[in-house]
Structures are given as C-alpha cells and as structure tokens.
Symmetry: C2
Subunit: 342 residues, 2 copies
C-alpha cells in the first residue's frame, strides 16, 4: 500500500488538489504545466497509469483525465495534505464569533451558533451534536408548581444543559413534602451522570423514601426517561451549501441527502459513531449509504476531559480537507476553552 515513490506522491498530490479545486478530471498536460513537476506529460501519463492500477486514481472514461479514488483521498489525507493556517478573514470571523458566544451562558445556544458559523466559514454543511443529557452530570433539580395538578421540573446539569419538563402532579401533596423530596434528590444525586441512573439504582432511592412515593415516583420516572431515551440534539447548518457542489446538481442525489438531513435520529447516530478527537471519514467509510459520496470531518469537544459532543463538516468527497481540518481544529479548541468557563 505504501509503495509510492516520491514522484508518484507528488503527482497524486497534484491530481487531488487540482480536482478539489476544479471538480474536473485532471489530465497529464495540466499537471506538467501547472504543478512545477519537471516532467513531460508523457511521463506523467505513465505514472498516472500506474497510480490507477494501484487504485489511487480513476478514469471516468478512456479519454478523460484522472480523478482521485476513495483510496487516493485517503492517502492524500493521511500522508500528502499540506498543513494550512487560517486566513486573516477566517481569523477575524472566529474572533468575532467567540466574543459573541462568550456572552451566552447556555450550551444549547452556543452549539447552535457554532453550527451556523461552521457552515458559513467552511461553505459546507455543518453538523453539530449538542451534549446529551445522558452524559451530563446531575447538578440540581427544582420543582415549580404551575397549576393544581401540574408542575414544572427543571433539571440543571454540569454541562450547562437545562431541561424542562411539565409533569402531572399527584394531588394532595403539600409544598413541604415536595421540598423534602427534592432536597433529598439534590443531595443524593449531585455529580452523578444521568446515564448512571439506571432503574436498578433508582429503585434504591425509592425504598429510602418510601413514604413519599407519589412525588418521588414522578421525579424518578422523569430521570429514568432522561437516562434511557436517546435524545436527538443535532443541529444542522448551511444545508443549502451542498447545492453549490457540482456533484449534487442531480436532483436525485440531492433528495437522498436532504431527506437524511431531516432524520435527526440517523444524523445523531452518524455523529455518535465517530472516533474521539479529530476524525475524517471519506465516502463509504461513513456507515450511511446516503453519504457514500460525502466526506465528514469531525472533532469532539470536552468538559472536564470527558467528550460531551461533536462538531462536524459534511461535504463531497472532493472536499477541501486541509482547510476544513484547520478550521475544525481551531473551532473545537476554542469551544473547549469556552465550555470550561461555563
């Protein structure tokens, strides 16, 4: 696999970068002209024929130039890609963005704005997975009576994620009883991750406070629900950007992707399935068939060293990997810093 001499690597690099720019098959002449490789077109042709045989390039038809195969992109991403840095414009945009984000105190809002910004700056579609309540830790819980028979439960977690739920109140409970139960739960559960609140563990609490079972039941049920039910907390930005990509000028291809964009559960799955840290998934390396012509670059973000969510950029396999990678790294690092201060 690694048996590519330097010349082949240079040529592969030229093909990939040119194709990323132009979206047109790259011919041997183009390379010998534009890419300061001191070789004639004929020699390059021979090398390209080799690269094709080795699986790094493909030819749409006999008399066309070459385009990178998935394996070609993979090699480019792993070994060939130049490190880039942010342009001044991008730098300024991010500076402005983060001074705005710093004013927001809620993770949800921050994450939503990040998704939008990510798509604006990359000009691709962005996907952002907000912290799942499951992975958050219990901080405190409050119960606010609304009417006779309804109350609002507010659950605050350490990730700054706040969840409301209106519940039916069992009747004939006085405020004192409620306060007691809530105080007990706050003391008992503080710092525990929501996911750890299994039916098992909750049962124990139930028996501890058996004389308040009515209200306790309602609250514990809510927690149990939070721990079990997967939440779809994925935000999409710049979906219309895919229309700028020539590979999606075909309406049928578009339909598959746009339909996918409306299926929050599956998007969540994609983002959860990604390895921690920075990840680049090319073409069929993505599990979903709809994404076989797409690449997804993601980075996880963390709180107290624990990964709590993912930001990602989705584009055609012909994506500007280097640029997007730089941007994602920068944004996720800034995001981590910001979350730390919440």
């Amino acid at each position: 696999m690694a048996g590519l001499n330097e010349r082949k690597q240079k040529i592969l690099h030229a093909v990939v970068t040119d194709y990323i720019q132009t979206a047109e098959p790259v011919g041997s002449r183009t390379i010998s002209r534009h890419y300061k490789i001191a070789l004639s077109a004929a020699t390059i042709r021979n090398e390209m024929a080799d690269l094709e045989e080795l699986g790094y390039l493909m030819q749409p038809h006999t008399s066309a130039g070459r385009i990178p195969s998935q394996q070609g992109y993979r090699f480019y991403v792993d070994a060939l890609m130049d490190a880039t840095s942010l342009t001044q414009e991008e730098e300024e945009y991010l500076a402005r963005l983060f001074t705005q984000l710093e004013k927001m105190r809620e993770i949800d809002q921050i994450v939503q704005h990040t998704a939008r910004a990510l798509s604006v700056i990359t000009r691709y579609t962005s996907l952002v997975l907000a912290p799942q309540i499951k992975q958050s830790a219990f901080k405190q819980m409050r119960l606010i009576p609304m009417d006779n028979d309804k109350a609002l439960v507010v659950l605050i977690t350490d990730t700054g994620y706040i969840r409301n739920k209106v519940i039916e109140m069992p009747k004939a409970l006085n405020q004192q009883e409620i306060d007691l139960v809530v105080a007990y739960l706050n003391k008992e559960l503080s710092g525990q991750t929501i996911a750890s609140l299994t039916s098992e563990r909750l049962r124990k609490l139930r028996s501890d406070l058996y004389y308040h079972t009515d209200i306790l039941n309602v609250l514990l049920n809510m927690l149990e629900l939070c721990a079990q039910k997967p939440e779809n907390r994925v935000y999409l930005g710049g979906a219309s950007n895919i229309l700028n990509q020539p590979e999606f000028k075909d309406v049928e291809k578009l339909k598959h992707l746009l339909t996918l964009f409306e299926e929050d559960e599956r998007l969540t799955m994609v983002l959860e399935n990604v390895t921690e840290g920075l990840s680049i998934r090319i073409g069929t390396e993505n599990v979903l068939a709809e994404m076989k012509d797409c690449s997804l670059i993601t980075a996880s973000y963390h709180l107290h060293g624990r990964p709590i969510g993912t930001i990602g950029v989705l584009g055609p396999t012909r994506m500007e990997y280097a640029r997007v990678k730089t941007i994602i790294e920068e944004i996720s690092s800034r995001l981590n810093k910001l979350i730390g201060t919440l």
Copy 2:
C-alpha cells in the same frame, strides 16, 4: 373580473385540476375527453383563448396547452374549488397524531410535532410558528441559584411556553432578598402580556422596589429583552418534499428556496404577515421574491380567543389547494382544542 359564464368556469376548473395533477399544460382535447363537458375540442379551444385573454390562463408557447395563471388559481381558490373531506387514511393518521400530542404538556414540543406531521400528511413543506413570548401572558417567574455568580431564571407563560435564561448574579444578595423581589414580580405582573412590559412600565416597578435594584434590574432587563427582541420560533418540516415537485427540478430555483429555509427571521416574517384565520397566498401575493412560484396556505391557532401562532403549508402554485385546505383546517381546529386544555 367576475364575468365568467358557467361554461368558462367549468373549463377553467378542468384546466386547474388537471394541471394540478399532471404538471403538464392542458390541451383542449384532454378536457373534452376527460372532463364530461359535452363540447368539442374546437369549442373549448375558443373558450380557452378567451380565458387566456381575460388573464386566467397562460400558454408556455404557441403550440402547447394552457396552464393556469396566478389569477386563474386565485379564481379557482375563491370560487371554483370543491370542498373535500379527509381520506380515511388521513383521518386515522390525525387521530394517532393527536393522541400522541395530548400526552405532551409543552407547547413547543406539540408545535414541532405538528410541523412534521403536517408535512408528512400533505407531502409538501410545512412551516409552523410557535407562540411568541411577546404575545404570551406572564404567569410566573422563578430564580434558581446555580453557582456563586450565576442563576437560572425560569419564566412560565400562560401559553405553556417556558423560557430559561442563565443570568449573572450581582453578588452579595441573600436568598431572602431574592425571594422577596421574585414574589413581588409574580404578584405584580401576573396575567400581563410580555409585550406590554415596555421600558416605560418597567421603570415604575423599578422605583417601587428601589432598595433591591441590583437583582431587580437583572430580572427586568431579561423581561424587557423578551418583550422587544423578536424571537425566531419557526419550525420547518419536510423541506425535502419540494424536490418531488417538477417545478423545482432546476437546482437554481431550489437554491433560493433552501437558502430561505435557513433564514429563520424571514420565515418568521412571512408567517407573521399572514391574515388571521385561514389564508391562501398565491405566487407573488407572498411578499418574498423567493416564493413567487409558491403558494402558502396558513391558519392561525388561538388561546383564549387570542391568536398565538400559525401553521402553514408551502408548495408550488400548482398545489392541491382543496386537499391542503381541508387538512389545515382540521389540524388547526384540533390544535386549538388541544391548546385549550393545557
């Protein structure tokens, strides 16, 4: 304008319904064959020429059939359209939907699910405007301390809309003071619409409680913000459905719409600009240029007789007006009933 004899109306009706079904220009032969109008194609041709001159029909080119003009659709919607009723399938789908919705206690969730369902059942794109906090009435407010310097304000309104905001806490405030201020606000503001909380009115409260200005200021600022800042609370469903419409097989046209779909502020504007009750906006009757080839059918929903939001369906001007109208009427009426019980 109204000078259409019965025969012309019959023919116009035939053209519109046929075109809605097929998306192809309708010829005179098709009408005389399929629509039980006991006239020859030639006669119908003459009438169609008249209808064109009167502005109800258009011809894409000389030797093609006719398609309805915007004015043609308008006449159809106002005078010609047959009343339809729900199919059994639709009926069952709605029954299932609303038994689900009844279990939800929060307006936001209800509205989101309604948007999705509306797009599924109509097979068009749906737009739903959730209650604006401005138009809601103050019910109660709570302040939950989080850390030393932060607190969570929970604002509950009569529309079941709950708003959280994390605020910076002025230091050196004891719980007692806070409770006092919150209790005062709850008493003073109960039942008032948020929009009525102008700077003017709030100033009075400020002077009433001048000895607690720190915490009071923070809370009042939050309320003022809610009263002023327009919120974008619009939900979109089934955006990918527009891809099934032949009129949007052109990627350029699509781009305009999809880009619009990402601009929440402008979508909100569209839905706010609509008349109360049922409204049908055809083509350029919509203010936004992007929607000049679309029609929008909307209905407002109410609480205590006050309109608090809008549900709508967006499709091509060649939309199945009758079917969609029936569905929207049904859903909004059921939604109204449901909201009343919250």
